[in-house]
């Protein structure tokens, strides 16, 4: 009993001692757990809270609303319209097969489109949106709406999309938008930032150049999602910013007239304000409807555009380089006057052809013009006179003047990435580019705008404008905003040494249009309000052989590709000039018969609209 009780005491001592050891261990472990909890929940709370939000919140970006383009009078020339679309969320549809076949019937989908939709459906998650149709016409859209009771899970949606109300009128200025591809995303930071599937971005023209301003910013929807990515509830809707609206200096009516004049023809018309440099119209023909591109152009439409021999995809105003032909003569004359080579009394006898450097150079008039002075030579566009002047002047001095007046370099700088430089040759240029010495014969033909010299229609227009405004430098622009702000410093620097020389050239151009024997006399307007002065040009596409010269074929008798380009540059009203224009009709035959009559119609409209334009300008100043 004593043994047993002493053993009991020992046992009790042992167990209590051990309990104490374990108890203290427990205490410290408990403290450990609490501190771990404290660490996670209090100290690192922010980190885990962020992680938890990252888990549960997902953002959905919606396509931003693109900024609009307005013309000078505020008409929307590239706007947004509500596209009727049809969306389906597959998991919300009870019987997907039934619904999709019903839709196939209602929308009259082709077998190919239908297969595409089925394929798309299989690629996406069942709770993601399937776009069945992105641009339905109103009839089909309302048909679907009427049948909705039968189409469980189909959602008619109105979405904002690009629209060009004037169709082909502005295509070459604005360009067009289309679905962004990987290249677009890679190249542009703003596209990358705002990208959503199906985003439309500018592909060419101003739409492309001003992507950054136009694109705007996404609407953002924040949803709470579960572990499988399904949306549970919308937490937030952040309205995006609409892209900036851009106002252009263009006049839709003039643009429309230009389009009409060049209908069925290939060519370009541009009109410019000779003081501000504002572009009033800038059209290249043939054009195409940019609306086709917004939802992806069909293969057939694309082939029609691509295979058109008149090349609708080329913006001829900026990209087309032409020999200026006789339209260069005002510059040749000015250059010669400025350099003191000739004066107004200088005369040349034109016999229809002249022998220089063992070669025969022909005047366009076989019989010759007889004795001609500068004014008459310009008026009748005598080639022989200008051969002689060019010979005396030399190509390098001509080059200097031509460059001053805007030839040989991009008019809009980097605004359009497609714009061409054109080419004004010089002896140095030929040595560098071709590695050959300059031939004197080449100077002769440069004097009548043939040979190496290449100009774009917009350059010709700028050249004419700068002659018309009395010889002062201007910077053509197409945006209203640029008119006041950041004007280049050398705007209105004078490009001449003696203003009389400019006057002489202007007067000669007046004669060319408004006096008997003038090349564009038939296109003149007698009313001094509209009276304009101009210079025709006919640019040879190929060398005329002796045989052809003998035949003296009429324009319509020559194959289209071999016909001459018709050119015309002009400014008006003559008494108080304000606008300059250039007209180029590819393979149009003769400048005086094809291009000059267009100018007549244009001036009529432009000058009529001048006062409206001015009144708007006044309003604008009143506002600010």
């Amino acid at each position: 009993m004593i043994n047993s009780s002493s053993d009991n005491v020992k046992k009790l001592n042992s167990i209590n001692r051990r309990m104490f050891i374990i108890g203290s261990c427990k205490f410290f472990i408990m403290i450990g757990l609490i501190s771990r909890l404290f660490f996670l929940q209090v100290k690192e709370n922010k980190k885990y809270l962020t992680l938890s939000d990252k888990n549960r919140i997902r953002e959905w970006k919606l396509a931003p609303v693109r900024g609009e383009f307005h013309d000078y009078f505020g008409n929307i020339i590239a706007g947004n319209f509500e596209a009727y679309q049809l969306h389906i969320i597959p998991e919300e549809v009870e019987d997907f097969r039934y619904v999709i076949y019903r839709l196939k019937d209602l929308l009259e989908l082709s077998e190919r489109d239908f297969k595409k939709i089925i394929k798309k459906k299989n690629e996406i998650k069942p709770w993601e949106t399937l776009i069945v149709s992105d641009n339905l016409d109103w009839i089909k859209f309302s048909k679907i709406n009427n049948q909705l009771y039968d189409l469980n899970g189909v959602k008619p949606v109105i979405s904002i999309s690009r629209n060009y109300p004037y169709k082909e009128i502005y295509t070459h200025v604005l360009g067009y938008v289309s679905q962004a591809n990987e290249m677009d995303i890679e190249k542009s930071e703003s596209i990358k930032k705002n990208f959503v599937p199906g985003l439309k971005v500018g592909k060419v023209g101003l739409e492309k150049s001003f992507e950054k301003k136009l694109i705007g910013s996404n609407d953002i929807e924040r949803y709470e999602v579960n572990a499988y990515g399904r949306r549970i509830s919308q937490l937030e809707f952040q309205k995006g910013k609409k892209g900036q609206n851009l106002k252009l200096t263009l006049d839709t009516e003039v643009q429309q007239l230009a389009n009409e004049l060049l209908k069925e023809k290939s060519g370009s018309i541009c009109v410019m304000d000779i003081y501000t440099g504002s572009i009033i119209a800038m059209h290249s023909s043939p054009s195409f409807d940019p609306n086709h591109f917004v939802f992806g152009i069909s293969q057939d439409d694309w082939q029609v555009i691509r295979n058109n021999p008149m090349k609708p995809l080329v913006n001829k105003t900026l990209q087309g380089t032409y020999s200026p032909g006789s339209t260069i003569k005002p510059i040749v004359a000015l250059s010669a006057l400025e350099n003191g080579i000739i004066d107004t009394n200088f005369t040349v006898k034109c016999t229809g052809k002249t022998e220089m450097y063992d070669q025969t150079y022909h005047c366009w008039k076989k019989k010759g013009h007889g004795f001609v002075s500068l004014r008459n030579a310009m008026k009748q566009s005598c080639d022989t006179y200008f051969y002689e002047v060019a010979r005396k002047l030399g190509v390098d001095r001509l080059n200097e003047t031509a460059k001053k007046f805007g030839l040989g370099e991009k008019v809009f700088g980097n605004l359009f990435d497609i714009e061409k430089n054109g080419l004004v040759p010089s002896t140095q240029w030929k040595k560098n580019a071709l590695g050959k010495g300059w031939l004197l014969g080449e100077t002769i033909i440069t004097g009548i705008g043939q040979g190496y010299i290449q100009t774009t229609p917009i350059q010709l227009c700028l050249m004419t404008a700068q002659i018309a405004n009395g010889g002062y430098k201007i910077y053509p622009n197409i945006f209203m905003e640029d008119n006041e702000k950041n004007e280049p410093k050398d705007k209105f620097t004078q490009l001449f040494q003696s203003s009389t020389n400019i006057k002489i050239v202007q007067d000669a151009m007046f004669g060319s249009t408004n006096e008997v024997m003038g090349t564009s006399y038939r296109s003149r307007i007698d009313d001094p309000i509209y009276q304009f002065a101009g210079k025709t040009g006919t640019s040879q596409v190929k060398r005329i052989t002796e045989r052809e010269r003998e035949l003296d074929l009429k324009t319509f008798e020559i194959p289209y590709e071999e016909r001459d380009h018709a050119l015309y540059v002009a400014f008006g009203p003559y008494k108080n000039p304000r606008y300059a224009l250039s007209v180029v009709v590819e393979h149009g035959g003769n400048g005086s018969t094809t291009a000059a009559p267009m100018a007549k119609k244009l001036f009529k409209l432009i000058i009529d609209r001048h006062s409206i334009r001015e009144s708007i300008k006044k309003d604008r100043y009143m506002d600010t």
Binding site: K10, L12, M19, Q41, N45, Y48
Partner: protein, 375 residues
């Protein structure tokens, strides 16, 4: 005086038994039950669905069972010690032969009203068995080879049966319950030290014997980010849930991690994660304190018990419960690798709750009958 006390105590009438209840322990258990019900309601998405109903039923049934067990004299618990052990060993063998297979392991017996997991019961009955084994033993005999070998066999036999299920986690918890008893019985410190060292040394060797999924768990524990969507997913999401709870939590029924189904196993092993997300540091600390009080009460009951059996049972049970809680929480908080171990009472699962409630019942019985000597 002594006589008098004995007499009155001997009567053991119902009224007296009620009076001798440990009301603090009972309150804490009921509070825990209530919290677990709330949490279960939250896991069901704020609706009374299957898990909530089932948990509620079990809670009621097993609490009543616990109260009934409290009235059973501690000496009868002593009597059935070995018998209970043999029965559960039988059940484990039965499980091995005819158990229900689910997700690659065979752990359950279908009893129609409940799927019984005998390995959970083993956690409690190994304590009962070993406590009985050491009750009469003299201290000098405790460290004899015979005693140590016998007790090791008692522990290793059920462990083996559980490991083959396979369920390493529960097997380890059974071992820990058994080892706790050995410790309190007075087995020499040295043996524990040696075993511990031996275990640590052979750890790399043991790991090479682990099943691929178990190895993965260990690797994942060491670096959860090595496979964030696969093996590391549970632990990462669990830490995010707990961490995002903050001081006061996201609020009842507002735990986004669990609602949006980022949390795996939220009913069972990861129930604390959900609770912690919704009630934050304050709630979690509160829960830990309740557990601490329960453990403290169990130890206190053991200390006030007259019989060595009751003492050893209470101490060991207290230690075992503590280990279950610590392992579960450490797992959830990313402190130990993931082992399937439920949180007592909180986790959904009948067998675990049954075992825990039996334990509480016996402890309560020890309190009510704390003057009962056991022959």
């Amino acid at each position: 005086m002594y006589q008098h006390t004995r007499l009155t105590k001997n009567r053991f009438n119902l009224f007296q038994k009620f009076r001798d209840f440990d009301y603090i322990l009972l309150t804490c258990i009921l509070l825990l039950g209530l919290i677990s019900l709330m949490t279960m309601y939250s896991t069901d998405g704020g609706k009374i669905l299957f898990h909530t109903k089932s948990h509620f039923t079990k809670l009621i049934v097993f609490t009543i069972m616990m109260l009934i067990f409290s009235f059973i004299n501690i000496k009868y618990w002593f009597l059935i010690g070995y018998f209970f052990y043999v029965i559960v060993i039988g059940l484990l063998v039965w499980t091995y032969l005819f158990g229900i297979k689910s997700s690659g392991s065979q752990r359950w017996i279908d009893l129609y009203f409940i799927n019984l997991q005998p390995s959970e019961l083993m956690k409690i009955c190994i304590i009962l068995c070993l406590a009985k084994f050491f009750h009469r033993m003299k201290l000098e005999n405790v460290n004899s080879i015979y005693t140590i070998l016998t007790s090791l066999i008692i522990i290793l036999l059920p462990m083996g049966l559980v490991i083959v299920q396979p369920d390493l986690g529960t097997a380890l918890l059974i071992a820990i319950s058994g080892i706790a008893v050995l410790w309190f019985a007075g087995i020499n410190h040295k043996y524990f030290l040696y075993t511990m060292m031996g275990f640590l040394i052979s750890l790399p060797f043991i790991i090479s014997f682990l099943k691929p999924y178990q190895k993965l768990r260990v690797l994942t524990f060491l670096n959860p980010d090595r496979d964030p969507l696969g093996a590391g997913y549970q632990i990462i999401q669990s830490k995010i849930a707990v961490g995002s709870g903050g001081i006061f939590g996201k609020g009842f029924l507002k735990g986004t991690q669990s609602y949006l189904e980022f949390l795996p196993e939220k009913h069972t092993d990861f129930i604390f994660t959900l609770f912690s997300e919704e009630f934050g540091f304050v709630g979690s600390a509160f829960l830990l304190i309740i557990y601490a009080i329960i453990i403290y009460r169990i130890i206190a009951i053991g200390a006030s018990s007259r019989s060595y059996f009751a003492k050893i049972f209470c101490y060991s049970f207290g230690a075992a419960i503590f280990v279950y809680i610590v392992i579960n929480m450490s797992m959830v908080l990313g402190l130990v690798p993931i082992v399937g171990s439920p949180l007592p009472i909180m986790s959904y699962g009948g067998s675990s709750m049954l075992a825990t409630m039996i334990g509480f019942g016996i402890v309560m019985s020890a309190k009510v009958h704390n003057q009962q000597p056991i022959a």
